[in-house]
Amino acid sequence: MTDLSAGAASGQTPRSLTQTDARTKKRNAAEKRFRAYGMAAIAAGMFFLVVLLGSIVTNGVTAFQQTFLQVPVYLDPEKLDKTGNRDPEEMKKVSTFGYKPLVEDAVFAAVQAAGIETAFEDAGDMDALFSASAAAQLRDRVLANPDLVGETVTFKILASSRVDGYLKDRVTRDSVARDKNIDAAHLDLVDGMRDASLVTKSFNWDFITGSDASESRPEQAGMGVAMLGSFYMMLVVLGLALPIGVAASIYLEEFAPKNRFTDLIEVNISNLAAVPSIVFGILGLAVFIQFVELPQSAPIVGGLVLTLMTLPTIIIATRASLQSVPPSIRDAALGVGASKMQSVFHHVLPLAMPGILTGTIIGLAQALGETAPLLLIGMVGYIATNYPDNIASGFFDPNSAMPAQIYEWAKRADPAYYERAWGGIIILLVFLFAMNAIAIILRRRFERRW
């Protein structure tokens, strides 16, 4: 009371509402400032996102292009099949080292036929231009079809990583001066060969479907086997985490009595969602590999570990979507005589399904990009060169996974692998975007709100 009367007594005149006083101005200014902070925060976030995506795309997009040499190779019977029997068993004795000179001769002959001036006089100098995989490519083709021996066949062989880098402006003449693998004369030759279209760039399917390669031939390395590894892991995650997660949530949400014990379980599930993923890796190492003696580096183990990691995400999403189904649906079902189980499976679950699927897909996307737990079960540091023979070997044979493959490439010595690591990130991101897009579409189209 005294305050009020004091205010009136100090001679304050009654104000109009249309005129802002000092305090209102201050409050309005504070609000404006806050909006500015918010916008600055969003702008900063967007800026970093653009920089991140920009650098990924600019660094990685070149990995999807690859340089090839197109040369006619004379498959010399003198070297490949001395006996002349055309018997594949005998011809297997000629190793890839026997095929390499053929490729060198062929490239040299093609250069001379095209009339390109070069300082090189020896076919042996050509080996810096093409990939070490070329000899194996020839050998496979000849062994598959021995009648080719004696003929001249045009092969499309991979250019070496340095030549590839030169055409992609990754290798410059300055850096070549210091590089022992290739010299400037080779680059002059490549310029000439490009003009004669002996050297062409084309889309690199092998980068998406191929297997990993050793460090001496980065041009051959691809993501395919690691993708299969990730695929089998995701199958395990989907096959285990979805039924277990949904069953657990339905029981907890619809059937379980509310008591201290179920409260404890609920708290623990939430805690589990916050456990750092590396912890699941250690658990996987101790339980699945050392105790159950599952093979190291196998997608089944990776899948099991990622299942543990994804489970809480799926349970929490499922419970949230079950809770959002209004009780009137359940009451109506029970009211017309349905059993508890019928009400859940016929009415509640279908309505909750979009939410459950969204949660599952987001959980899978998270698991797909996870590397830390894979470190401990041997999926990182593994050279993924073998395609799985069948479905069982897909689960049990050692393999890598997409993020592990990217990590593996990023740490290799040859700078050409750096580009491939970025390219791998693009592939992984495409998968993640696709999965998130599916989740959003499901939510938009099928989710009902009450």
């Binding site: 070490a132 070549v176 285990l240 657990a248 699945f288 599952l294 489970l311 050279i383 010595a413």
Partner: protein
């Protein structure tokens, strides 16, 4: 946690019956230094033989030998790669698990080089003594051990650039560190007379050696626990840094790194195989003899690895940076005859 247990039990039920298949590929694990060589050989092996491509994993020499020594059988690895010789303790551990017959194969040599940014300060010639003076934790001055007073390379040797000491050396879990300590720090300690001075002060020889190899911990020397790529990244961001690399890694990055001579000798495959370049080490792999004849292709793989066309001069391993072993023929004979190491050696 109840959920995790359910899953584990389920996994057990799902997995156990399917895991009764026999293995038909060679499995290799171990040193990250040997990994690139082993994967080059594995790739060529897969191309040239009817056997599947061997499975190669890294993990480090010690980790590889530990897995190697876990026992005999299909679920253990056949070959361990190592960038150092197997230790007596490891041989014992192996024998305790039934792995008593091991074939030691030396594939060649690897040089350890000292390199800095190509456009950085003029680090062109080092002596072991420079590294000891630059990196020692303590050194004897007038009969007393004092903390290393040197802060710039010029303090260690007036001929070196006067820039702050920033050295990136392999961490203690690497086989390379051992070679670095013995062939550079200890050598430098002896060359500078510090070793003799320490023993004069009443230290035992072992204590003096330990003191020689102790590296300063004030941040001027950084242990790199990752691989050479990490060292390279540190050098890239620190123009005045000097890093320790494998010769093969350096040879694949000659466009960004400049190498210094050690003791007046430039590192190259020639100077290392002749023994002139002082800092090199042999690289090995170890074969479990009990697996020969059981795992298809194991012996062929081992023979292929040390064949002249692979590990010899001009072969793909030498191209990548391996220094060929002049005694390769003996190694080949060793595998042919399946000669094991003497127990306890």
């Amino acid at each position: 946690m109840t959920k995790t247990l359910t899953v584990s039990a389920l996994a057990l039920a799902v997995a156990s019956p399917a895991f009764a298949q026999s293995r038909d590929n060679v499995q290799v694990a171990g040193s990250s230094t040997v990994l690139p060589y082993a994967s080059i050989v594995a790739e060529a092996f897969g191309e040239n033989f009817d056997f599947p491509t061997p499975v190669v994993e890294s993990g480090g020499s010690s980790a590889g030998l530990k897995r190697f020594c876990e026992g005999v059988g299909e679920n253990t690895i056949d070959i361990a790669n190592a960038s150092r010789a197997i230790r007596p303790a490891e041989i014992e551990a192996c024998a305790a698990n039934g792995v008593d017959e091991i074939i030691e194969v030396r594939i060649g040599y690897d040089g350890i080089v000292f390199a800095s940014q190509i456009d950085g300060p003029d680090f062109t010639a080092f002596e072991p003594a420079d590294w000891f003076r630059a990196l020692a934790a303590e050194m004897p001055v007038d009969g007393e051990m004092v903390t290393n007073p040197n802060t710039t390379w010029a303090d260690a040797n007036a001929d070196l650039p006067a820039v702050e000491i920033a050295a990136f050396i392999p961490g203690t879990k690497h086989g390379t560190r051992e070679v670095f300590e013995e062939k550079v720090l200890l050598q430098g300690c002896e060359d500078t007379g510090a070793m003799a001075a320490m023993m004069k002060m009443g230290m035992s020889e072992d204590d003096a050696e330990d003191a020689c190899m102790a590296v300063r911990t004030d941040g001027r020397s950084v242990d790199i626990d990752g691989d050479y790529t990490e060292t390279l990244a540190r050098i890239d961001s620190n123009p005045e840094g000097v890093g320790v690399f494998g010769l093969a890694f350096y040879e694949n990055n000659t466009d960004t790194l400049k190498v210094a001579t050690m003791g007046g000798v430039a590192p190259s495959t020639e100077t290392i195989s002749s023994g002139e370049y002082p800092v090199s080490r042999p690289l090995f792999f170890y074969i479990k003899k009990a697996h020969l004849g059981v795992i298809p292709g194991l012996k062929d793989f081992a023979q292929f690895f040390v064949a002249d066309e692979i590990a010899g001069p001009g072969g793909p391993l030498a191209d990548y940076g391996l220094v060929p072993d002049p005694e390769l023929a003996e190694t080949q004979a060793k595998i042919e005859n399946e000669e094991t190491m003497n127990a306890g050696s």
